[in-house]
Symmetry: C2
Subunit: 406 residues, 2 copies
C-alpha cells in the first residue's frame, strides 16, 4: 500500500506553483510556474534515488534500476502542466502517483526485475502550443523534434524559445529513453465512475481527436448605418458554425463531441460589424467512422453557411489523433490489480486524450482512472478524494509490480 | 467656393497620423496618433487666426471673431479620432472641412456677423471609451465631466489618465464655449446617396442608439470528456444571442439594426468549453417605439436562451441615445445652400450617431452628408471623392454664412 498522506501532501504542495484565487492551478506548459514544478519534481526524483534526464522537448525521465537491466523499463507517469484555468489533479495525480510508487517501493526495499521509469511529459494540455500530448507524440515519431520545437504560442514564442527561457531544453534526444510499456494513472475527467459508485476505471479505449484552425473573413462596416441585409458579419457566421457543430455532434452522439474553445475578433469595436475572426474547433469520437462523419458534416455545414453569408471561411485540420485501443494484456493487468486490492471497477473509454494514447501506438499501454467530483475537469473546481487518489496509485503500483516482476 | 485641393491636401496630410497598411487610419481617441493630429490641428487653427482653447475633456475649440461678439458663435466641426480599423474621412472631413471654411473666409476677407467656432470633439467613435460622442454628451449635460473622466478603456486606463498622457486635459471647463447652433459635415457612411446619384444629404434625423454590456457565465469543462447534453457553453449561448439579435433587428426592419461588435472568451483554450464571455450589443432605430421593442424582444430572447442553456446572462444598458430630429430651420438652410450651389440633394436619416445629435438637444443643429464609396465606413477601405468632399464643404460654408450673417 502506498502512503496516502504523502501522496496527498505532494499534490497539495505542488499545487502552490500557479495556484489561482479560486483554488485551481494555472500552470501553462514551459511557463515560469511550470519551471517551479519541474524543479520540485526533479529534486523529488533525485531524492528518491532516480537517475533523472531531460530530453530535447523538456520531458523528464527518472529511472529506477531493475535487477535485469537488459529489460526495457516500465514507464509510468503523466504531466504537470495545466490548462489556463486548470485543476490540481489532471496529469498531476498520474505524475506524483508514479513518484509515490517509487517512494513506496524504496521504503519497502522492493527491487523489481525490470527497471521503472517515471515520466513528466511536456505540454500534454495543448492550450499554449498545439497539438496536445506534443512531447509523447514526438516520442512515438508522429512529429519530428524540429517540427515541435518550431510550434508557436499565441504570442509567437516557439517551443524552443520557451524551453530555453526556463532552462529545460534537455541534452538527451527525444526517444533516448526506451520504454517497454507505459501505464498512466489519471482522474476520469467525466461523470461515470462517480455516478456508478466505482473506484477504479479500467481504461480500454480513448476517443480520437480532430483539431482545426479556422478563419472567417467577412467585411467590417458601421454598426449603425449598414442595413441588416447588406452585412457580411464574421461573428454571425461563427455563431452559425458553433450551433451547427453542436447539432452535428449531437446527431452523431452519444459517441461524439464538438467544441469551439477559442474565437478572437480582430480589432473589435462596439460599433463595427466584426470582419475577421480566428477560431479553433475540437471534435472527438471513439469511433473512427464517426470522426470521418463529423469532419464531413462540419465541412459541408461551414461551406453552406459561408456561401449563404457571402463570407470566406478557411478550415485547416491541424491534428488528427485516431481512436485508441489499449493493450489487452495491460488492461487485464490493471483490472486484476483492482480486483486483488478489492476496489470496485469497470471498463471505461477515455473522453480526453492522454500521453498513454500516443505511447500505445508503439508499445503496450494502459490507463487507470479514478473518479473526479461531478466529472468536472479543465476547471479550477476540479476535485478528487484522497482515498480515490490513493486507490488509483495502489492499482498503478500493483500493475507495475505484475509487469516488471518482483 | 472653398479650395478643393487645399481641403484634399489637409485630409491626406493628416491621414499619415495612424495610417494603416491597408491605407486606412488607426487613431484611437487620446492615443499618441490622436495627439499628433491634435497638435497639427491646433497649429493649423492658430495659423488661420483662430483663438484655440481645449476643454477639460480635450475637445478643441477655435474661435473666429464676428462683427457682433454679443452673438453666440455658429459651431462647425466634427472629430479626428477613428475606429481601430477606420477610414480617412469619418469625422475628419467635417473637422478639416470646418477649417477649410475658415481659411476660405480669411482668403476672401469675409467677416461674419456672428463669430464662428471650429470644434474637434474628443472620442466621437466610442471604441476606446464608451459612450460614443462622449465629449459632446458632457457638453450638453448628459453626463458630468467627472463621470466621463473616470470611464475606462479595456486596459483600465481612465479618460483622465489618457488625457494627461498626451497633454490634452485642457484648462477650460466643459461648456466654457457657448455655441448658438451647430452644423456638422460628414460622409454618409451608408449607400443611399451614391445609389441615387445625389451629391448632398440634407440630414433631417438620426437613429437612436442602445448600447449594452453583456456577460455570460456558463461552466468551463473538458472539450473531450463532457457529453454534449451536460454542457453549459458560454460561446454556444452567445451564438444564439447573436442570431436572435439578427432576427429581431430584421423583424423590426428596415428601420432597425443590431450588432455584437465585441466578444471576449475568458481564459480561452482549444480543449476547454468556454465558461465566461464578455460582449457588447449595439441596437438602433430612428423610431423610439422600435427602440423600445428591440430592447424588449432582446431581453426576452436572452432570458429564454439563458434559462434553456442553464447559464447566467447579465445585460447592462450602458447608453441610450434617443432618436434625433434636427432643427427645421437649419435643415432648410442646408437644403437651400445645396440648391443655391446647384448640387443635387435629398433628405436623409443618419444611421450613425454624431456629435451634432447631442448638440441638437440643447441648440439648433443640422448636418450635411456627402456620399462615400459603396456606403462603406468603419473600415480601412472607406473612400470618398474630392469633388463630393468639396461640395459638402461648400454647402457647409454657405449654410454658415446664411446663419452667421455677412
Ligand atoms: N487529459 C487531458 O485533459 N488532456 C488534454 C488533451 C485533451 O484535450 O484531451
Ligand atoms: N459617425 C460615427 O461613425 N460615429 C460613431 C458613433 C456611432 O457608432 O454611431
Amino acid at each position: 500500500q502506498i502512503d496516502s498522506a504523502r501522496l496527498w501532501g505532494s499534490i497539495h504542495e505542488t499545487a502552490q506553483f500557479g495556484r489561482t484565487a479560486k483554488g485551481g492551478v494555472r500552470r501553462l506548459t514551459l511557463s515560469s510556474e511550470d519551471k517551479q514544478v519541474r524543479d520540485w519534481f526533479r529534486r523529488a526524483c533525485e531524492d528518491a534515488g532516480l537517475e533523472v534526464h531531460t530530453d530535447a522537448l523538456g520531458s523528464q525521465f527518472g529511472l529506477r534500476k531493475g535487477r535485469d537491466m537488459s529489460k526495457l523499463p516500465v514507464g509510468i507517469g503523466s504531466h504537470l502542466d495545466t490548462q489556463p484555468t486548470g485543476g490540481k489533479y489532471d496529469g498531476i495525480l498520474g505524475t506524483l502517483g508514479a513518484l509515490e510508487v517509487i517512494r513506496t517501493l524504496n521504503d519497502a526495499g522492493i527491487e523489481t526485475e525490470a527497471p521503472i521509469c517515471v515520466v513528466n511529459w511536456t505540454n500534454e494540455e495543448g492550450s499554449r502550443f498545439a497539438p496536445a500530448m506534443m512531447a509523447s507524440a514526438a516520442y512515438v515519431g508522429d512529429f519530428t523534434t524540429d517540427d515541435i520545437l518550431s510550434r508557436k504560442d499565441i504570442d509567437g514564442t516557439t517551443v524552443g524559445q520557451a524551453l530555453d527561457s526556463i532552462g529545460y531544453r534537455g541534452d538527451k534526444p527525444v526517444g533516448f529513453q526506451k520504454l517497454g510499456c507505459f501505464v498512466e494513472l489519471h482522474i476520469e475527467q467525466g461523470p461515470i465512475l462517480e455516478a456508478e459508485g466505482k473506484t477504479i476505471g479500467v481504461v480500454d479505449s480513448g476517443q480520437g481527436v480532430l483539431w482545426y484552425d479556422g478563419k472567417i473573413s467577412g467585411f467590417e462596416s458601421h454598426a449603425g448605418s449598414t442595413p441588416m441585409p447588406l452585412r457580411r458579419d464574421a461573428l454571425a457566421t461563427l455563431s452559425e458554425i458553433v450551433l451547427a457543430m453542436e447539432a452535428i455532434a449531437k446527431k452523431h452522439g452519444p459517441n461524439a463531441v464538438g467544441t469551439i474553445g477559442e474565437a478572437v475578433i480582430a480589432n473589435p469595436s462596439r460599433n463595427v460589424i466584426p470582419g475577421e475572426i480566428a477560431f479553433t474547433m475540437d471534435c472527438r469520437s471513439a469511433d473512427g467512422a464517426i470522426m470521418d462523419a463529423l469532419d464531413r458534416d462540419l465541412r459541408a455545414a461551414i461551406a453552406e453557411i459561408a456561401a449563404r453569408r457571402k463570407v470566406e471561411v478557411k478550415i485547416d485540420l491541424v491534428w488528427r489523433k485516431a481512436p485508441t485501443h489499449f493493450d489487452p494484456k495491460l488492461i487485464a493487468a490493471v483490472e486484476n490489480a483492482a480486483k486483488t486490492l478489492g476496489y470496485s471497477s469497470r471498463r471505461i473509454t477515455s473522453g480526453a486524450g492522454h500521453d498513454a494514447c500516443n505511447l500505445n501506438t508503439v508499445m503496450p499501454a494502459a490507463m487507470v482512472f479514478v473518479p473526479c467530483k461531478d466529472g468536472i475537469s479543465h476547471n479550477e473546481l476540479e476535485d478528487a478524494t484522497q482515498p480515490d487518489c490513493a486507490a488509483g496509485t495502489n492499482v498503478l503500483m500493483h500493475t507495475v509490480l505484475a509487469i516488471a516482476g518482483v
